[in-house]
Symmetry: C2
Subunit: 287 residues, 2 copies
């Protein structure tokens, strides 16, 4: 048995999954109890700064590119002509930055309930908030579920649910009733995307249920895309897309290949590869 980790480490235990991930930390930079959650920022030895919400790793400077590129670009290259984008959650602004890389996008509205997350990102993850002054970006700090309720029918092209896990503040974002409201505000041909947890841990539970709930909520097609994410449980994560009158298993592949975006992970080939799910996932999702 190896030794326990001492107090120079931040450790997240993945309850129910019998695994844990640790990063060596050199300093605690920030800690605040917001009205919604407990927020901490650490300096790590090898992953840059680390943001933690309610004890769960949210992101590090070193590897957040994986998640942020994969929650943004597949959805945007699946929609035929995305102009009006809405992000629910996403307070660290990394997803917003990726969306704004698309020149055709005319307006991005981000609604995160917790302004402290954005303030911490501005201080400790400045690369992620570098596009916040883009005139196409609007940041609101409000209840995303309520915002969706009040939004007009058919008013959004791409809706991105960039939330924490389906417990705590984000619980309401994983319910069929909410998905139905998302469907309502999407214009015909619209695309919704939601982070959907670990392919290894959740293919037979959260991912399968989310896909079923999306179809029940009125969406016509769904697609789950896995990708590596070292600091999340199992080191492997996913997003799930849903289309309103659109097949989300196809995308603007030649546009994705031709776009010269300054990315680290996403490519047209990665998108196509991710759409072809590993056989074990297919079996669990179809069970």
């Amino acid at each position: 048995m190896s030794a326990s980790l001492d107090s120079g480490w931040f450790t997240e235990v993945f309850d129910g999954h019998g695994s844990a991930f640790s990063l060596k930390v050199t300093d605690k930079l920030h800690e605040v109890q917001t009205p919604y959650q407990h927020l901490e920022v650490y300096a790590t030895e090898t992953f840059g700064n680390l943001m933690v919400l309610d004890g769960c790793v949210m992101l590090t400077e070193r590897d957040n590119f994986l998640y942020h590129e994969m929650i943004a670009h597949p959805a945007l290259f699946t929609h035929a002509d995305p102009r009006r984008v809405v992000i629910i959650g996403g307070g660290d602004c990394g997803t917003l930055r990726e969306v704004l890389r698309h020149p055709g996008v005319e307006k991005v509205t981000q609604i995160d309930i917790d302004e402290e997350v954005t303030r911490a990102a501005e201080r400790f993850f400045p690369a992620l908030t570098a596009s916040n002054d883009d005139p196409r970006a609007e940041l609101r700090f409000a209840d995303g579920v309520k915002w969706v309720d009040e939004a007009a029918d058919d008013s959004v092209d791409v809706l991105i649910i960039d939330s924490t896990d389906p417990v705590g503040p984000a619980e309401g974002l994983f319910k069929t009733d909410f998905l139905r409201r998302c469907h309502r505000i999407l214009a015909p041909g619209g695309v919704m995307v939601q982070q959907s947890e670990s392919p290894l841990y959740h293919s037979g539970s959260i991912i399968r249920e989310l896909r079923r709930d999306m179809l029940e909520a009125g969406f016509d097609s769904v697609a789950t895309l896995p990708f590596p994410q070292p600091v999340y449980p199992s080191g492997w994560w996913s997003v799930t897309l849903a289309g309103k009158g659109r097949d989300v298993t196809a995308f603007r592949e030649s546009a994705a290949a031709a776009a010269e975006l300054p990315l680290d992970y996403y490519t047209a080939e990665a998108h196509r590869g991710a759409l072809a799910l590993p056989p074990f996932m297919r079996r669990l999702l179809e069970a």
Copy 2:
């Protein structure tokens, strides 16, 4: 700061990478100091049995399919007609099982220096050793470097280096001189494949050096394929292929798509997707 993990966990600290991965264990099933390394087997709460060599996670029952499928099938579907396969290392026999799924393979010789690994696999990972009685399989317990030295020129179609990390018993398997000898025993059109560590941690070091060394050793092309591997450092791993008079960036894609192998991860699409490296890797490998 979260609490330290107590003694109910097995923790591997990734030295120099500032991260650690832990599995909750329920029992220690086996422990032996072999002539070559310290071997332990644990029962875990959620990953099945776990084999540890010199303190490093080798495999678990739950997620070894990723590594074993990706070290075997891409190389076999890259070669035009693989009949004679050699595995250096691979004592747990999981790679051997995958190779034997290919009906065209006539002979697989596996040379692992440590018989205790295979004996432990037979007891605690019986699914992996289930094909060991296949008449096409020959298991030898000997020094792989020496075996390669004594093998005839042009006598192998696919050579698989299924080793531990490039420290300790496997150190000699990561040297240019050894790669040159591998090149010698491969027949024209032959393919070599080697596990090549983490895309996140090692793209600018071990992977880049291995690719350079392969080309220096006489190989004509190289290709690195990343894939998820939750229990290895960073949860993301890779294999690197090298071709002797063969372009290993292409493969028998229609054969791979048509083969009805009972796999959990590998598909023709996954193979093609992996060949298109993430941009950050390309930049580091070409630096």
